[in-house]
């Protein structure tokens, strides 16, 4: 019956399967959801949504679909004030739901308008006026199976309210996320190989069986090298002033890479806007705390995968011209872009992660240099999704 809701959810990017939809229908048939929308909201969410990362998408879709059922907003202040006061329910307050008149939504909204126009004073515990603790269809803290709730502490929040609060916004996958999620993404960066040097420390069962049979049942053990991740990673961080707003994000990525102990090797260096002769060994980029970029080319083989992390936003001269290095007293013979080219030539697997949202790359400050770099490097947003896409790029053989 809500089949359009099903399609709306799918259209909003939730992978709801028919299977799950049938479970929901079964739950409704079993009466697991009383007539309230909030119960329906929770039921739908627990059956249809399988990750907190999707809660937000669900909230949005739910609010979109059921938005007609909101409380009207134009309630006079005075009535709000009456509603804000304490509620005392009369003793033995019980009534069968059947006694209430049935109203549909439009009717309720129309009645509310009239009632507001009529009402001149505070009401509690009655069954007609807007007030608290009664059985009127308007107000709060009372009992009416289908009234319009107005104000008061959220004793029973409406589903639309809950959905439009969007409490789970932070869990969205396309959001910028924390160390742990980066770490999960890094876990995908692995290429197993047993053809590495290293001790043969694992029992090769098939080999052992074969050898033992060949020797007429005398036990012969065969050892093999364990399969290991062969990925070596070189990460270069831009730690320029323009990167300060993203420092937390960069730090999270750094921590994640550092904690991921499945890499065969991990090297991290820092640069200032663009790479030149020197790479810094710490994020403060102080003179002397550096190594020669040449050293990197000589000592780190082309099997290293390179990840640049930077906004790529700088003065065009810093990228394109000789002596463009903005550090006073440092002069570069080779323009920054040529240094980047050398990285590209030496390391066939390279990506650039940019903390600036993709949509802004072609018009934000520094878009000239960003686009120049983007011509050279596959560029991704510095989000979990971006990192995952980048890692895929690093892994495919071209």
């Amino acid at each position: 019956m809500f089949i359009t809701f099903f399609y709306l959810l799918r259209a909003r990017g939730l992978k709801v399967s028919l299977n799950e939809w049938m479970i929901l229908i079964e739950a409704l048939n079993q009466g697991l959801c009383s007539a309230s929308l909030i119960d329906f909201y929770h039921l739908c969410r627990s059956v249809l949504v399988k990750s907190e990362a999707d809660y937000d998408k669900f909230d949005l879709a739910f609010a979109e679909y059921f938005k007609g059922i909101e409380t009207p907003a134009d309630i006079p202040d005075e009535i709000w004030k009456w509603l804000d006061e304490e509620i005392k329910l009369p003793e033995g307050f019980e009534k069968s739901y059947d006694d209430f008149a049935k109203h549909n939504l439009e009717e309720l909204q129309r009645m509310l308008k009239e009632r507001i126009a009529e009402q001149k004073e505070k009401h509690c515990g009655g069954n007609y006026w807007v007030g608290t603790g009664g059985t009127s269809v308007f107000g709060h803290g009372g009992y009416n199976p289908q009234g319009i709730r107005i104000g008061g502490e959220g004793r029973h929040k409406t589903a639309i309210q809950v959905a439009s609060e969007r409490n789970f916004k932070d869990f969205r996958q396309d959001n910028i996320l924390d160390t742990r999620q980066f770490q999960l993404a890094f876990k995908k960066l692995r290429q197993f190989s047993s053809r590495l040097d290293g001790k043969k420390s694992e029992l090769d069962i098939d080999g052992t069986v074969n050898e033992t049979c060949d020797h007429a049942g005398m036990l012969r053990l065969v050892w093999d090298r364990p399969r290991q991740n062969a990925v070596k990673l070189l990460i270069l961080f831009d730690s320029d002033g323009s990167m300060m707003p993203y420092s937390r994000l960069c730090s999270a990525l750094f921590q994640a890479a550092n904690k991921s102990n499945h890499f065969k090797d991990l090297k991290v260096f820092y640069f200032h806007n663009c790479v030149y002769e020197k790479l810094y060994t710490d994020p403060y980029c102080r003179r002397g705390h550096w190594i020669d970029t040449e050293w990197v080319f000589k000592n780190l083989g082309s099997d290293y995968k390179v990840i640049f992390i930077g906004d790529g936003a700088m003065a065009p001269t810093e990228l394109m011209s000789k002596g463009g290095n903005c550090y006073v007293g440092l002069y570069n013979e080779l323009p920054g872009i040529d240094w980047l080219n050398r990285f590209i030539q030496k390391y066939p697997k390279h990506i650039w992660l940019n903390p600036i949202p993709k949509a802004e790359w072609d018009h934000t400050y520094g878009s000239f240099t960003i686009l120049k770099i983007k011509e050279k490097f596959p560029m991704f947003e510095l989000t979990v999704e971006g990192l995952e896409a980048g890692i895929k790029k690093l892994l495919v053989s071209r």
């Binding site: 299977n19 479970i23 739950a27 627990s46 059956v47 789970f168 937390r248 921590q255 710490d282």
Partner: protein, 278 residues
């Protein structure tokens, strides 16, 4: 019908209660996710207590295989027995040891089965259990027997989101994400554990706790269980109230990382920290 309404030593939110009841009624496993320390594991215990059912816990480790939960065939024991002539070796059934799932399936009465931290295991692990959890039965090759449950157990599965769970598995579950409790609910939780805690102390400690949780530069946020430990430490030490917010005694109970402790004190003093890159 079984309806879960929470138990006296476990504070449960309406949404969670609803999710539990939906999962019981639909006979689908309930998958629980949430920050560490939000009481995921406790939930199963609480359900078992409230519904007066036996709880069977299957703790998953990185080495756990799906087969471990079904049954193990103890070939070594059988070989041993045959050499020393002990017992009837021809009865293979004697050497089939049921795992936790098998145990839950063969119980006479309905049980609560907790599969704890399913994400610890191999990526394929949940897929290997699809059939067993769907049909609640499995086949023992050695004895050519099918072990089938009489009354489907209530299955609770917890996950810390260390690994993504396969879609096929997720489709069969009811899912609930336990949010970190807000101050109001936290008070209820504390009241369950320490009924007679002093009001002012609690207020001070809560304020400090939520302040620390709100700091962006903290990597490992303290959770409920840490707050409970901290409260206990505060009560036992009898530290004057004024000092709680000022000095944050026993900070090691709340924050487990040196960097976090340093960052927190720096923010407290100067209002910001630069210890982000380290």
């Amino acid at each position: 019908m079984n309806t879960f309404k929470g138990s006296k030593d476990y504070v449960v939110s309406d949404e969670l209660m609803h999710a539990v009841n939906v999962s019981i009624a639909l006979q689908k496993p309930l998958l629980i996710k949430g920050e560490p320390g939000t009481g995921k594991t406790m939930l199963a215990q609480s359900i078992a207590d409230a519904l007066e059912k036996k709880l069977i816990v299957w703790n998953i480790k990185s080495t756990t295989k799906a087969q471990d939960g079904l049954y193990l065939y103890d070939t070594v024991q059988r070989l041993y027995d045959s050499q020393f002539g002990e017992g009837d070796v021809s009865d293979i059934g004697k050497y089939i040891k049921l795992g936790k799932l098998g145990e839950a399936f063969t119980e006479e009465k309905q049980v609560v089965l907790l599969i704890d931290e399913i994400d610890k295991a191999d990526l394929e692990f949940p897929n290997d259990l699809l059939w067993e959890l769907d049909k609640m039965e499995f086949y023992v090759n050695e004895t050519k027997e099918t072990i089938k449950t009489r009354i489907r157990p209530i299955v609770i599965i917890t996950s810390n989101a260390e690994k993504e769970l396969p879609d096929a598995f997720l489709r069969r579950c009811i899912f609930h994400y336990i949010e970190f409790p807000d101050a109001e609910r936290m008070k209820e939780i504390i009241a369950v554990h320490y009924a007679d805690i002093e009001k002012n102390l609690l207020a001070q400690a809560m304020e400090t706790f939520y302040w620390i949780r709100g700091l962006k530069d903290i990597q490992k946020k303290p959770s409920t269980s840490e707050l409970l430990d901290w409260l206990q430490a505060l009560v036992h030490s009898g530290i004057p109230l004024a000092k709680i917010k000022e000095e944050i005694p026993f900070v090691g109970v709340l924050l487990k990382k040196n960097q976090d402790i340093e960052a927190m004190f720096e923010i407290k003093e100067k209002g910001f920290t630069v210890k982000r890159w380290i």
